[in-house]
């Protein structure tokens, strides 16, 4: 699990996300990603390889 302190959120962004063919997008983490496994009915956390919730810019 990766933890990012609030003060470092901009320093530790995700650059160059392959999401759009026409827009160059980067992202920053948005709060705690883990509870979203339950919100989206994705099963137990242990069974997930990766789960990230972020904000695109």
């Amino acid at each position: 699990m990766q933890e990012i302190a609030g003060k470092d959120i901009l320093k530790q962004g995700f650059s160059d996300l392959p999401i759009s063919d026409v827009l160059k997008l980067e992202g920053i983490a948005n709060r705690d990603s883990l509870p979203y496994a339950e919100t989206y009915s994705l099963g137990e956390l242990d069974s997930l390889r990766t789960i990230v919730r972020g904000t695109l810019r």
Binding site: S15, D16, P18, I19, Y40, L42, L48, I51, L56, R57
Partner: protein, 250 residues
């Protein structure tokens, strides 16, 4: 979620809507972090710049707890110390564009807002600058982008599949994309409450009552704001979103 048995991997990426220096999306995080390093996002201290082009120097004085002479070389060297040499030029460019740095060319207008008479937090002053300098011009439009990507293993073939659910909405002459994507879901939810189909009471999330979210989703579909869902085989030879996230963290 269709044919997929076991989810191996998931992630969600949400939302947008920000412009920093016109038409420039990449570099947002670095630039805003630079503004933070300079003290422009400080909410609790109060400063009294003499003019808009004195804002950066005034914020720097508080941040560095020292007085900074009113000359371009001293100010630029303080900026370079705080943001680091690699980010110096783009930071200076942005500050000049906003009209909050000494030595601004005559072609750049100062922010139109009036500087408050009383000492004010750098964050509030900077927000007034951005509200003026990043305002939408006629013909410009905003963008709302919502994107979910789930990598799942097919129960039948064992192959990894990419499930995506996304929304791309642009503003038009009638309304911004932000206004439509926030206002219309609320309107559909309110209509469901008013027509008596919602039985939940009190403050609750959209998932609390099926009548709320089914009506919201159907309504959004009707007005062209439905989520587009796709299932694709896992792309080969191209960096996946998961790999790019991990690479960013390395």
């Amino acid at each position: 979620m269709g044919p997929c048995g076991k989810f191996r991997c998931s992630r969600r990426n949400v939302l947008i809507l920000w412009r920093i220096a016109r038409n420039r999306y990449p570099g947002f995080s670095v630039l805003v972090d630079a503004f933070k390093s300079l003290g422009l996002l400080e909410p609790t201290v109060a400063i009294q710049p003499a003019a808009w082009n004195d804002l950066t120097r005034s914020a720097l004085e508080v941040q560095l707890k020292t007085s900074i002479p009113n000359d371009p070389a001293s100010i630029q060297s303080a900026i370079a110390d705080l943001v680091g040499e690699p980010h110096r030029d783009e930071t200076l460019d942005a500050l000049r564009t906003f009209g909050i740095l000494y030595g601004v060319g005559k072609d750049i207008a100062p922010p139109s807002a009036v500087i408050p008479r009383n000492p004010t937090a750098p964050l509030d002053l900077f927000a007034a600058v951005l509200a003026d300098k990043l305002r939408y011009n006629p013909g410009e439009r905003d963008l709302v982008l919502l994107y979910h990507e789930i990598v799942a293993q097919s129960a039948s073939t064992g192959e990894e599949e990419l499930h995506t659910s996304s929304l791309v909405a642009y503003g038009d002459e009638r309304a911004s994309a932000m206004a439509r994507t926030v206002g219309l879901p609320l309107a559909f939810a309110v209509r469901s409450v008013l027509d008596g189909s919602v039985h939940a009471r009190g403050v609750c999330g959209p998932g609390a009552d099926k009548a709320v979210w089914t009506n919201v989703l159907q309504g959004l579909q009707r007005v062209g704001l439905g989520m587009q869902e796709k299932i694709l085989p896992r792309a080969r030879g191209r960096l996946s979103l998961e790999e790019s996230l991990i690479r960013s963290r390395a």
